[in-house]
Symmetry: C2
Subunit: 233 residues, 2 copies
DNA sequence: GAAGACCTATGACATTTATCATAATATGAC
DNA sequence: GTCATATTATGATAAATGTCATAGGTCTTC
């Protein structure tokens, strides 16, 4: 894990993600976690951890945007998913596996909240409601990744590109106009097609006046048409 | 849930899956579960539950083979995965969702062990080690599904077919000769290609003397070649 | 500011995959 | 057993997708 711990000015009792993870905590446990957590700020392009690294922390994203990916023997990356604050938390292997099974790197400056894995385990073992919350939270993340994989698998190239554009505009940014946080190649690595065809498909959507393109900036001009393409293709 | 409860002759303390789920149980909790579980036998072709059904049980497969799938508005099925005893257990939504998010039906006669969801929750809430075991177990299943999805996504048709044949021979049956528990169409629904191309690809593998086909019976004659095709394609 | 690396873009072409048609075989219902 | 239906199979063709080549633009590094 790169990055340098930042002064932990954060008060866990005020954390907006508290409800998702620590709602069941006693003041004591919350104080314990709060004093023992470390926040790591990361800049765009930095790698948080790599496939195969030892798991030392339970971690969740407080802010920013990351990509989860695997690298094959030939050095080609395959992106598992792109995730924001509520979508990225150590997946379920965190208590059973010893090593990371994928890499995570930063697409938009991020803050990661990290809790020593042993301390986390210890608390989980004496607070069953917390274990349950954790299970629900991590389960939701896993399920989302599984569902997304199925949606991508069943679409053709146009459908795939439309699907991921809609993910950016609906799930990630909540706006029809946004700056793509990834390259065309990374989109290709995410949805399983070639970079050239991603570029070509984007150009076609532009020619059909469904989107407007200005470098990294994308504007979804005709969301209904994009939905149709996503659902049909 | 169809099927009729069978006489519960099973003694949980002897259950071969016990270690996976109930290792941390006190004799008391184990007895409690054992007395309150219900075993449902299912025949090939039967549906265990459908997407959208109310979740009433925590369930895991004791024996047999099942498929997890989703049905789209047009009525087309998409198979999420094919799972045996250690690979199928209520996924992580079981404590947070109220309804099933996919359907499960039976490929090979199966026995499902079911525990009332409320009782399960209650035990999980007072036995944190059990919650932890559960989390690990369910996490392993989720992770396996995610990984499988990625492997399928990155392969071309030959690689996909080779991949799933290897799954049958290595993971499911542990033998190079086996009866396919699914139709060619179901294979297509699993790996995201057309039925015709699954059939064609199988025929090609036969012509290349990598496999032998006799109806549902498949023999992997040249496992090394099949591995190469799976890894290259 | 020059060089190199990467990103975006597009065209031409080859290959892969899907679609449509047809038929033999197998399976299930009555 | 027979009829209806689904499955397996194969070929012909169309459509989609990948590969290769080229080029201008952008960004980083020295």
């Amino acid at each position: 894990m790169e990055g340098h711990p930042m002064d932990s000015v954060c008060d866990c009792s005020q954390c907006e993600l508290r409800k998702a993870f620590f709602d069941s905590f006693s003041d004591e446990d919350l104080g314990d976690i709060c004093r023992n957590k470390t926040e790591f700020p990361f800049l765009r392009g930095e790698t948080i951890f790599r496939e195969g690294d030892l798991i030392r922390y339970f971690s969740y994203l407080k802010s920013g945007l990351v990509k989860l990916f695997k690298t094959d023997p030939a050095g080609k990356d395959q992106i598992i998913t792109i995730a924001g604050p509520y979508d990225f938390v150590s997946l379920l292997g965190v208590f059973s596996d010893t090593h990371q099974s994928y890499s995570v790197s930063v697409l938009e400056d991020a803050v990661l909240c990290c809790i020593d894995i042993e301390r986390m385990r210890e608390i989980a073992l004496r607070n069953a409601r917390f274990s349950m919350n954790l299970m629900e939270r991590m389960g939701a993340v896993s399920n989302k990744i599984i569902r997304e994989g199925l949606e991508i698998r069943k679409r053709n190239t146009h459908g795939k590109v439309a699907y991921i554009l809609l993910k950016f505009c609906k799930d990630i940014y909540g706006e029809c106009i946004f700056d793509l946080p990834v390259s065309r190649r990374e989109i290709a690595e995410n949805i399983g097609m070639t970079t050239e065809n991603v570029i070509r498909t984007l150009s076609e959507l532009r020619k059909e006046k469904v989107i407007r393109i200005n470098g990294k900036e994308i504007e979804v001009v005709d969301p209904a048409a994009l939905e149709r393409i996503s659902n049909y293709g």
